[in-house]
């Protein structure tokens, strides 16, 4: 009995001291939770900007004159050095697990981002669920200082803007680090990263008065795609090109598609409910030919011209008309990308690799030069399912 008691107390003591989990504990008031990260290039290294939550402000019930986030910037020869350099500026140690957004400055992106990707995956505090973006035409540092309305934390605002718009608006795209790294590493595929930029005055944007205004004069936008070759940014696609890119890659979930009416007076807008794409490759005389079929299904959402929607023929005609318009747009985009960027962002090389591995081995090394010359045909088919809650458009009399 005595022995048991002794053993028990020894065990309890052992558990008490060893299982407390206090080894490297950090209380909430000892860490600075970072939500956004900006990476810029300097002359001899990197500029590292973190956007840190000001916990008292985020949770506050009363309106105060302090901002919900603070940014700290530090420079270093490597990213990790810069991160640790932050400790002499920020009062607490920066905690990176809640990062929502990593933004590369355009200059850094044009120089190549591969060196930074190592740190972003090697450090154990990073998770993999943050979005990656490039600050279009500006430094990432400036972008992170803009305060946004609605969402108190600007990095969150960018995160959610991108999340919603990638679901309901064709030009935008979410890129996560795992995708980015795989795309850079694999042959016959080049990455795109969505661009973020500001509208309005940056100085004003970093002031609290920006969010006191109803219209928030300075804000951030997320709707353009940066084309990369390897790990270097080489150019930007405009909104139409970005839309086509997403259609061809099968990324579109739901969007609005604007078409002109046949007589060029007024327009019809389609709410795209479903879109899919199928890429195939055939080899003729040793040359690859690519065929992309994009099928789009949607409902008529907005009619701004006189048209008789109640006829089956009209719908058929519209479908044909829309398909043609989209096909032209897609084909133009592909040839623009081939000419202007010479970067295989569509992954055509990868398609050959996956489906015709033997042939791929013969052309692999020359693919970069071959890509701008290959033949690609894109064919879009539009299907109209419903016409909304009203039948024909109203015939309003217009004042001449």
């Amino acid at each position: 009995m005595k022995r048991r008691l002794l053993l028990l107390s020894f065990t309890l003591l052992f558990l008490l001291t060893s299982l407390t989990g206090c080894w490297s504990k950090r209380e909430l008031d000892e860490i600075a939770i970072a939500t956004g990260l900006g990476l810029d290039k300097t002359e001899n290294g990197y500029k590292f900007t973190v956007q840190i939550i000001n916990p008292a402000e985020v949770a506050a019930k009363t309106i105060s004159t302090r901002t919900a986030v603070t940014t700290y910037t530090s420079e270093g020869r490597s990213l990790f050095e810069a991160l640790r350099g932050l400790t002499d500026k920020a009062p607490r140690k920066v905690y990176l697990s809640h990062i929502r957004k990593v933004v590369f400055g355009e200059e850094l992106a044009r120089d190549g981002i591969s060196e930074t990707l190592d740190f972003l995956t090697r450090d154990h505090e990073f998770r993999t669920d943050f979005h990656i973006a490039v600050a279009k035409g500006m430094e990432a540092h400036d972008l992170l200082t803009i305060l946004t309305p609605m969402e108190k934390i600007p990095a969150n605002k960018m995160y959610f803007s991108m999340q919603t718009s990638s679901e309901y608006w064709a030009p935008s795209l979410i890129i996560k680090i795992q995708q980015l790294i795989s795309t850079i590493l694999e042959d016959g595929k080049e990455p795109v990263i969505s661009g973020v930029y500001n509208v309005g005055d940056i100085k004003r944007g970093s002031n609290l008065s920006n969010v006191e205004d109803v219209g928030a004069p300075t804000d951030v936008r997320v709707d353009s795609l940066g084309v990369f070759k390897g790990d270097q940014l080489i150019g930007w696609m405009d909104q139409l090109q970005s839309t086509s890119y997403n259609y061809i890659m099968g990324n579109v979930k739901n969007t609005a598609e604007y078409f002109e009416c046949k007589d060029k007076e007024g327009s019809i807008t389609l709410e795209v409910m479903e879109a899919s794409s199928n890429k195939t490759v055939t080899i003729k005389d040793g040359e690859p030919h690519f065929n992309v079929e994009v099928s789009v299904e949607g409902n008529i959402a907005d009619v701004e011209c006189q048209i008789d929607l109640m006829k089956l023929d009209t719908i058929k005609q519209l479908e044909k008309h829309f398909s043609e318009q989209l096909s032209i747009l897609f084909n133009d985009t592909v040839s623009d990308v081939q000419e202007d960027f010479k970067s295989d962002v569509f992954g055509f090389g990868d398609l050959i690799h996956r489906t015709k591995p033997k042939y791929w081995r013969t052309i692999k090394d020359g693919w970069e030069e071959q890509f701008p010359e290959v033949e690609v045909t894109v064919e879009a088919t539009v299907k109209i399912n419903r016409t909304g809650t009203i039948s024909n458009p109203y015939e309003f009399k217009k004042e001449e």
Partner: protein, 366 residues
Amino acid sequence: MHGKEEINLRQFLLFLFLFVIGTSILLSPSSLANIAKESAWLSVVVGMMIGVAIILFYLLISIWYPDHNIVDLNRLLFGKWVGTIFTLFFIVFALVSAATVLWTIGHFMVTQMLHETPQPFIHILFMFVVIYGVYLGIETIARTSELLFPYVVLLLTIVFVFSIPSMNLNKIKPFFDIGAQDIVKGAWFDLSISTFPLMVLFMVYPKLVQEKKSVGKKVTIAYILAMLTILAATFITTTVLGVEYTHHHIYPTYVLAKTLNIEGLIQRIEVIIAVSWILTIFFKLSLYFYAAVTALSQVLKVNSYRSLTFPLGIFVIVLSLIVYPSSIYASEWNQTTWIYYSATFGVLYPLLIAIATLIRKLFKRS
């Protein structure tokens, strides 16, 4: 703690399952993606087919000698001196394996979760539980396995099932594009961590499990189920993360659990998922350790192996601290030395037993 210990067949099958997936669910996907690239999953399939043959071979040996464990066998077949030397080799093998497994879990915890905790501390904590478990006996461990098995299966099912939506088969195309040589090499590697060490289980099996009816079928099924789990882990990590990304990570299965996001509702659950690996590794480690301790006690003719658990446990902790100087060493060792080391005990040694048995039979007849 008196009398002969016994475990039933179901408990043995659970041991087999947990032992196979033990460390390999964490380690295999990365190395396989490196060796066999897009065909990593194929390597596991090939490994499974070879593995079934191996496992049945082990079983055959234990059917020949239903009342002998490895120590008895060595003495019976190779005589007192040579047999003892073989047994000592076996003990060293079990101890080194135990140390590497302990190192793996320690390294996993330190790199992925408890970044600032010193690794030895985790080793000590983990090993104390193992020592305690082995001290209480194999029956206790077996019952624990029955108790915890559902959790392991549940957690693994969660990762696997909810990863299905993010799978992209294109990432492992082209199928069969890699030479048969690399596939077999991958299979060999997978066997070396999952199957060959099962030899250690036969220290437990023949004497302790009394039920011998339709054992072959049940063991095969349990083994195939375990290998299917590894197949699923490899297949899913490579299709979700991509081959390159998988092989650049040390613990890709954990990264997979990190990416898990069910409609924004269930996310950031990787630590809960990791519990399942900690459990499987606990059993693998316990079985290695149990085999080493009981074998040594038989060699030393100690009445009860229990007095050896504590000193040998301390030895394993110390060994685990020096067994791998770094993770780079570990992965190189796994791919160069370990595959031969474990094959020596997993293939060569059983073959030797079979040959010795045949010779013995011949002599008896003449």
